[in-house]
Amino acid sequence: MAKLSANKVNLFYGDNHALKDVTLKMDANTVTAFIGPSGCGKSTFLRLFNRMNDLIPHVRIEGDIVVDGEDIYSKEVSVDLLRKNIGMVFQKPNPFPKSIFENVAYGMRVNGIRDKHYINERVETSLKQASLWTEVKDKLKKSAFELSGGQQQRLCIARALAIEPSVVLMDEPTSALDPLATHKIEELVFNLKADYTIVIVTHNMQQAARVSDKTAFFYLGELIEYDDTNNIFTKPREITTQNYITGRFG
């Protein structure tokens, strides 16, 4: 069974038909990259998986979005629980105005966890998973804003991991970072794959090629091609995909 799947998904922003009949299945413990020019619908599609589009006015969604076999848009689904299972990392690092420790502990506290020992352990584990522990272990009480941009982004990843999701959605997580910080996040994505299912939206073709197992190419709201990343970047089936990834348009 696929970990995440979309079946004939259409999304409208008012009259704007932003996603057109998108059908896609993603397996557990894989990294899937969504690529495509700006406005192609890739971020909109990503946000469907933790219902981030729900609050946007005039949005209408058709089709099925299924996580672990469950339609996440059914009335019985709790959005809070869904988001506990599906973490998200955004384009710009957005730490809370709190200490490094409290940023990571925040999700647990919101979820009612009070066990200090457990929280300490989860904070350490999450920071280690996010490859940040050695850099911050001696200054956990310092403000998260004292960290560099790359460290802040890894802190946000640690914060997402602390509540033990099974899926991590990343929306252009390195677009605001320098090459070294980008490299660290990419290594992190590679290592996290063993425990999580990761979906990453990126404008960086080489990043998609480096980090993902599968790549989905979107254009004008349609899923043009979805295949093993190796195939997409060596022998894409569709000429539109080829023209985009070789920089001939977009």
């Binding site: 073709m205 080489q206 090629a209 060596t234 995909t241 080829q242 990834i245 070789t246 920089g247 001939r248």
Partner: protein, 222 residues
């Protein structure tokens, strides 16, 4: 045209130029052989340096494009295929050079009757035709032309096989000029090798244009 496209075009232009030079080298090698023209043979040997120069230039350009542009899809296949085509072309150049060296080595006139029987000229003509096909195929990304090479290569192989038995029979009854007979065998072997190398080039062109791998897959050339 994007920056990458212009870099790829330069590589393509240089490779086409190298194909033309190698074709000319082989054609001059044939002429030097048939007319025992040692000066022309020396010219072929001298021009081998140009072929080597192109090999280095194309290698370097491909390396730069990979390092600086990270090409993908058809662009990546083009660069990878061209790297190999470049290598095969240099080897064809080596064979033309070898033919020219044989012309220098042989002191006596060729046995015209034996030469005719061995169809050496025919092999040269087929090899030239094959290079013409891959040249146009590479230039116009026309894989139908590349595929024409596979049948032609079998022709050369057939002529070479026949030459081997003909020479071996000839030596049995005529041992006055064994040295020349052995050279003729070597020349056939060189042309057979050229045929194989042109076939490899055709396979690379098909890989580049169609993303199909034909190497080591007999019978799939069509």
């Amino acid at each position: 045209m994007t920056h990458l496209e212009s870099e790829l075009k330069k590589i393509k232009d240089n490779t086409l130029e190298m194909m033309h030079i190698v074709r000319t080298q082989l054609s001059k090698g044939k002429e030097a052989l048939m007319t025992s023209n040692k000066e022309l043979a020396l010219e072929v040997m001298h021009n081998e340096k140009r072929v080597n120069g192109y090999e280095l230039l194309i290698d370097n350009s491909c390396e730069n494009v990979i390092a600086c542009f990270s090409p993908v899809a058809i662009d990546l296949r083009f660069v990878l295929a061209t790297l190999k085509i470049n290598y095969h072309l240099e080897r064809i150049g080596d064979n033309a050079d070898g033919i020219a060296r044989n012309v220098i080595d042989i002191k006596e006139q060729w046995n015209a009757e034996l030469l005719e029987k061995l169809e050496l000229v025919k092999s040269f003509e087929i090899a030239d035709e094959m290079i013409g096909y891959v040249l146009n195929s590479y230039e116009n990304e026309d894989t139908n032309l590349a595929r024409k090479v596979f049948e032609k290569d079998k022709f050369i192989d057939h002529i070479t096989d026949n030459a081997l038995s003909t020479i071996s029979e000839y030596i049995k009854s005529n041992q006055q000029n064994v040295n020349q007979d052995l050279y003729l065998l070597l020349l056939h072997r060189k042309l057979e090798r050229v045929g194989d190398l042109v076939k490899n080039i055709a396979e690379e062109i098909i890989f580049f244009v169609e993303a199909k791998v034909l190497k080591h897959k007999k019978g799939l050339e069509g």
